[in-house]
Amino acid sequence: MSVGHVAREIEQAGIATVSIYVRSFRHVAEQMGVPRTVITRNPMGRPLGAPGDVERQKAAFEAALQLVESARSGGALQELEDPYRPGHL
């Protein structure tokens, strides 16, 4: 919930924000009106992907950038379909 408050305040101050949430918190992002949200199907504590899974981490990061470019109103949300997988450390 903390990031929901921060996203709202900073967006209202005039800075475009995008947040990467794990699936368990999807309803929090929706109900708090987070401006732009990318949802990853990862366990909690691993929002971008597994440690060492550079490919999935980059995919989540790029999805966030694309959402910044494409969103036209608040509450934009995209859920990525890739399931979690362990990385290579």
């Binding site: 919930m1 903390s2 990031v3 929901g4 408050h5 921060v6 996203a7 709202r8 305040e9 900073i10 967006e11 209202q12 101050a13 005039g14 800075i15 475009a16 924000t17 995008v18 947040s19 990467i20 949430y21 699936r23 368990s24 918190f25 309803h27 929090v28 109900q31 708090m32 009106g33 401006p35 199907r41 990862n42 366990p43 909690m44 504590g45 691993r46 929002p47 971008l48 992907g49 597994a50 440690p51 550079v54 981490q57 980059k58 990061f61 790029e62 966030a64 950038l65 910044v68 470019e69 969103a71 109103s73 608040g74 509450g75 399931p83 979690y84 997988r85 362990p86 990385g87 450390l89």
Partner: protein
């Protein structure tokens, strides 16, 4: 020692068996938790033969989602409005910042919660209820910090993953890669993190001051990562 099943599953949430990856067992019913354990054991039995861990991971992931699913109790921090700011310029000309609730800070700049120097992860977990009553402290982290000088401590989640690879929740390296490739204009010189386990009303209050800091930093786009 006699222990009920309810006491057993709750002990994973800041109890005698505390494990922040499985603290969700506390929010399950006895029936749900029993079914979870049964399926888990069945899946382990399968993995003896297949060697595949994906079904185990999927089972735990789905149990976590189920335990966090909204119930009938009203959500205290719901809002009707949907704040939105249009981007001012293309991303390849934008200064992009990062703010996470992962509890990162720079070595030598420990926020020292409750005045405690060098607080351990274990102590942060032990004092979680105190954190939840306090205002959050924002840590400023130089974007070009050596990875070896990046610290993390947070009593609310399993920090083992981010300690193995900070980019899991603090994607500093991906920001720099995006700047190098020209996908974004530049990385903000200062990145930020705080411990998201804090009093929510006070987070909201602090955040309006943080916004001013980010405006002073001339950030065009901010990436936020909750844990």
């Amino acid at each position: 020692m006699s222990e009920s099943f309810e006491e057993f599953r709750k002990s994973f949430s800041y109890g005698t068996r505390s494990d922040l990856s499985f603290k969700f067992l506390k929010s399950m019913s006895d029936e749900q938790a029993a079914r979870f354990f049964q399926q888990l054991l069945e899946s382990i039995g399968e993995s003896y033969d297949t060697g595949e861990l994906d079904p185990l991971i999927q089972l735990a992931y789905e149990a976590q989602i189920g335990a966090h699913a909204p119930d009938d109790t009203p959500f205290r921090w719901g809002y009707e409005d949907r704040p939105f700011t249009h981007i001012r310029k293309p991303l390849h000309e934008s200064r992009v910042g990062l703010l996470t609730s992962s509890g990162h800070f720079a070595a030598g700049d420990d926020p020292e919660p409750f005045g405690v120097a060098d607080m351990t992860q274990q102590e942060a977990e032990d004092r979680i209820s105190e954190f939840l009553r306090e205002a959050p402290q924002l840590s400023a982290i130089p974007a070009n910090i050596d990875a070896a000088d990046l610290r993390v401590r947070h009593g609310g989640y399993d920090v083992r993953s981010v300690r193995k690879d900070h980019n899991v929740a603090f994607p500093r390296d991906h920001l720099f890669d995006a700047a190098r490739s020209g996908r974004i204009g530049e990385v903000a010189p200062t990145l930020y993190s705080f411990t998201g386990a804090a009093a929510q009303g006070r987070v909201r209050k602090e955040a309006s001051q943080w916004a001013q800091q980010l405006l002073d930093d001339r950030i065009d786009v901010l990436l936020l990562v909750p844990v």
